[in-house]
Symmetry: C2
Subunit: 249 residues, 2 copies
């Protein structure tokens, strides 16, 4: 059995509508959960406008840096859908109407004339493979380590399902969480010391704002289960001590 290794990912959200506030992105959260489930470490996400140079530049940076890149948005039939063009440009390959894509769209819908808009959605960078779209037919694109998906959440989600079995998965990371009625400030000194004792257990502290008091959740993550359990017991002891001190906030 080969040693499990770190598998990383970057995400690129493409679309003026996200940056103008017109559409609130839901895809970053979905991809983040998807990566966590597969033990893929999502290291970075970027949102760029429908500007060719911005897309090419971000895509080239991310695909150099991470095992996988997931993009969403800009693969529809209209003039403002320029992701396929940018991907072809980033890889230095031609963008061509692909018979497999036409077939995928015509298999999905009866009586589907290939007008200009639909032909636009059938353009695939040379060397790319299709990502199945069971929701609306027009495929996504897989080229090297880049997965180009739709921006519409339901379509993006079905594309994620399609690619999941093809991805490498990373080292399994376990997590524990402890809730505290004491605020972050009361815990921080002891948590800092504990983090230094357990450098391979990542300890995160998250305030939960309520209406009349603060509650804190401490989340511990590690690929070493024994160390994780040990550190979790100590976090609980820190919380108990702080709570007994009756420190507010």
């Amino acid at each position: 059995m080969s040693e499990p290794k770190r598998v990383t990912a970057g995400m690129l959200v493409i679309g003026d509508e996200i940056l103008s506030g017109r559409t609130k992105d839901q895809n970053i959260g979905t991809v983040a959960d998807f990566c966590s489930d597969l033990n893929i470490e999502l290291c970075e996400a970027r949102i760029v406008a429908d500007e060719p140079e911005d897309i090419v530049s971000a895509l080239n940076t991310l695909r150099e840096r991470y095992t996988y890149v997931f993009t969403t948005g800009g693969i529809g039939p209209t003039h403002d859908d320029i992701t396929a063009d940018a991907v072809a440009n980033a890889f230095g390959v031609e963008l061509k109407v692909d018979d497999r894509a036409i077939k995928a769209m015509q298999d999905r819908f009866v009586d589907y004339p290939m007008n200009e808009g639909r032909l636009r959605m059938a353009r695939i960078p040379v060397g790319g493979e299709l990502i199945a779209n069971v929701v609306s037919g027009a495929p996504g694109i897989h080229i090297e380590n880049v997965f180009v998906m739709a921006g519409v959440p339901k379509v993006m989600q079905c594309m994620l399902e399609a690619i999941a079995p093809t991805l490498e998965t990373g080292i399994e990371v376990f997590s524990r969480s402890c809730d505290s009625q004491a605020g972050e400030s009361s815990l921080s000194e002891a948590l800092t010391e504990l983090q230094n004792v357990y450098p391979t257990v990542k300890i995160g502290s998250y305030p939960q704002m309520g209406t009349d008091k603060y509650m804190t959740q401490i989340v511990l993550r590690s690929s070493d289960k024994a160390l994780l359990e040990e550190a979790t017991v100590k976090v609980q002891a820190i919380i108990d001590a702080a709570t007994q001190n009756k420190l507010k906030i």
Copy 2:
């Protein structure tokens, strides 16, 4: 009266919890709306982990590139809150406990002993100004063109309110939208031609997925009101023609 100019912004979201999927970001949408209201063009957003080098590198890129940079996350009291350190590092200045910050926190709450965690939240890069936090006291940081805000949405929002009057606003952009019962593919050829005729009116096309049919919304944006109205009339004519053609999807 001086000529209105383009005012741009970049956003930097800092936090492992967003990239792990544990927390779903709400702040990008809020900042996007905030920028739109002030005619500030949000050009790019990035999400990075709680890693010093990642934060410094992204911050330095964004602050060179845009009029303003808005950051959220990582300014709490615990060891994983490293944004203030990274900002000081990016600007090459010291990070010091600031009496103004201690005063702001003690003014907000009675009986507020300055333990280690609270002192951590009072550290401000030298040369930075405070951003008021009426929700929970611990201030944000304004240094040069960078605004460092909390990750908790309610706190972030009160900080945005605090900085709004200090920001330059850009050229007013007007928008119109037209709903279509015809799908994007049926409109795309005519919209592409129209976009070429009106290069200063940005025409965006957004599919709205329903249960049994597709609906499309066309959004037009321009700072030239007369051209915007002219182009909107033509978009409506394109929609009417496509709808009469009874093209589905």
